[in-house]
Symmetry: C2
Subunit: 106 residues, 2 copies
Amino acid sequence: RTGNPEEIEREIEELEAREKEITGICGELSEKAKGLEGDLGKIKPLMGKGKCPLCGQELKEEHVLKLIEQYTSDLEKVRLKLREALNERGSLESRVKSMKEKLGNI
Amino acid sequence: RTGNPEEIEREIEELEAREKEITGICGELSEKAKGLEGDLGKIKPLMGKGKCPLCGQELKEEHVLKLIEQYTSDLEKVRLKLREALNERGSLESRVKSMKEKLGNI
Ligand SMILES: [Zn+2]
């Protein structure tokens, strides 16, 4: 890490651009998680119903269990990605902050 | 039809009781029609979708057509009953009105 102010400024710019990108990704992932939670909220009550309230077809218990498992695992994956993206954003913010302090001291 | 005021009053009471009952029935039938219209609004868009958006099972076109036909015919039946109930209520109201006028003239 050189102490050259131009280089530091350029690096701060790159980090801030990545920070903006990551913030967008966090937003998308959290919307996706909300959508999957909504779907699960509609599917879980199908357990024990003989017929689908929408299409009227017969509902076998193992079919509903499979659906619940599928949506639950999709939701887990999205939540994991969201945690990783939030972590990255956090570390970007602290790096930008410490670089700005460095710039201030030159 | 005698002109005896007591008998006319008793008959008015009976008609008004029936009128009240019929008004309740009209309310139920109109709620039922609204429910079926709502269901149809959810089922019609299933046309052309390969899978049910709720239970994920395959949707055959003739199955969806059958569903649309069934709900449409249920809705027609309810609307017919509603028209009949509204007609009965109308004729009860005019009979009560003319009997009250008769009472007023005795
Ligand atoms: Zn279904």
